[in-house]
Assembly symmetry: C2
Homo-oligomer: 338 residues x 2
Amino acid sequence: MPSTRTVTLAVDALGGDNAPAAVLDGVAQALDADPQLSVLLVGPAEVVEPFAAGRDRCEPVITTEAIAMGEHPAAAVRSKKDSSIVVACRQVKQGRADGAFSAGNTGAMMAASLLVVGRIRGVARPAIASVFPSAGKPVVVLDIGANADCKAENLVQFGHMGAAYARAVLDVAEPRVGLLNIGEEPTKGSALALEAHELMRQHVPGFAGNVEGRDITTGTVDVIVTDGFTGNVVLKVVEGVSSTLLGELRKAMTSSALNKMAAAVLKPSLSRMKEKLDPESYGSAPLLGIDGLCLIGHGSSSARAITSALSTGARAVREDIVGTIAAAIAADTAHASG
Amino acid sequence: MPSTRTVTLAVDALGGDNAPAAVLDGVAQALDADPQLSVLLVGPAEVVEPFAAGRDRCEPVITTEAIAMGEHPAAAVRSKKDSSIVVACRQVKQGRADGAFSAGNTGAMMAASLLVVGRIRGVARPAIASVFPSAGKPVVVLDIGANADCKAENLVQFGHMGAAYARAVLDVAEPRVGLLNIGEEPTKGSALALEAHELMRQHVPGFAGNVEGRDITTGTVDVIVTDGFTGNVVLKVVEGVSSTLLGELRKAMTSSALNKMAAAVLKPSLSRMKEKLDPESYGSAPLLGIDGLCLIGHGSSSARAITSALSTGARAVREDIVGTIAAAIAADTAHASG
């Protein structure tokens, strides 16, 4: 049973294409929905003070700098110590918040997570995880872009981290973990996949063997592990194919007056379908392996996506995602060296 | 202008889940559609003789062995010298056919292409190309699975081969060639992608820089180059997402009597949409870089897919795909060493 302990999240008020409006709306809805959630709202005084004034469980944290979408991530994080992203992460490092969220510059949020909050002991490479909707149950896929080049040992750790996240936010007691590959047989695949398969078989509880690209949207496993290059390509292919198909569907449905009438009849069912397959349901992607919950939102996040991100984040904190990952990594390091 | 010279294709009558019925139907339709096409139909006497009897431009080639779907490709090709796949490829080697087609064991067709027909001089690694439908114009993607591990030099050759194929079958005079990567900037990506970007910029005419997973279905370039691991994952993600979305759409449209009526109104428009996005339009994937046209069909190929495969194949032969690739590879080798 998830506890309902108080959770504090630091939120970058300036993050995302629709900031600050979407962020503020998202925070307001998340606070309404979860009476045990507190928010440290990080940003310029004129944005965060009026919003926090007279509102319960929302404290303004005033910053004077901002990192723009196009800035070089590590350089910006190093030079702008009073930017909303860096200050949000600092709240986590100083123990004032359990987690930080930004829908701003993804690279800067990653860099700040690494440089300001730091890694969990024993984690070689933190990875970005994303929950993909599917026809069946949703699937945690990682790494979707933090590490373009990976070693087999990194993929083993991604397996531990992804399983911990699936347990925390998808209600799966014993997650099945698959390795993304180009054939089901253990003898198939790239040199990296072959080596990772063997190591994961030895080290990752619940390892279910190789899965293929098709399994991303069928929900045959709970977690799919891959390197950050393949994972990022997959993420964008899924987004691209979905948007192409839905776009063509929209064209077909509006191509005549009669079609429009028929489409109106179908609208409620189609909306439910889109809802089910909507990647915004979980609203953000955690950088797992960091010693605090660091959540990266999509630049185009809507208020709804931000509400989902904060509520999924609160849930992950209550399930002690960081402690669970730390324990799994520590146990496996012991196993590997012992 | 494509010539209409006579083209002879050797067809494995036993290849695919629906063989021989789908193969025979597909061949019959292809022969009807193209009066300059001849087929050498390769298979057991009881299948190929009755079909060829009294039919113009179809000659039976009798074989006594077959390679099953699950057999080890290279071993099967080496031991079963009289199998329909090996004999079909031998027709190409001996100059009796311009190309060979099989929807059977993919690995065996690849192995037979390599071992029996052989590579074009200078080609290090042949690659499987596939034409992906998109919202705009179709896109040639390669490698979709022949080489799980690639070097940057291989990707350069894939660029030449993919451009030649796009010119031959997609009617694009000067194909734009993209490198699949995880960011548009030349400084983004894996070590392989970084190195390939630089080499392709120097060696591949029409190189348009990096593209992302989203571009697979938007048609921003004509050719997308990637390693066979990523390409195979992408192929299966596209298939998986499409089938999940269309499946959910079908469910939504049949969830009530009223919905079914509305769906009936939309049916013609939706059929046109599915037609446009149907991966069967080109019906097969050539193994480019082989010294003859070797076409690999999907195991589940329908008669229609086989007809498309043969007609696309005939077109590629008339456009001299093999000669064009040979010339591009020879020119680039000269450039690289000179």
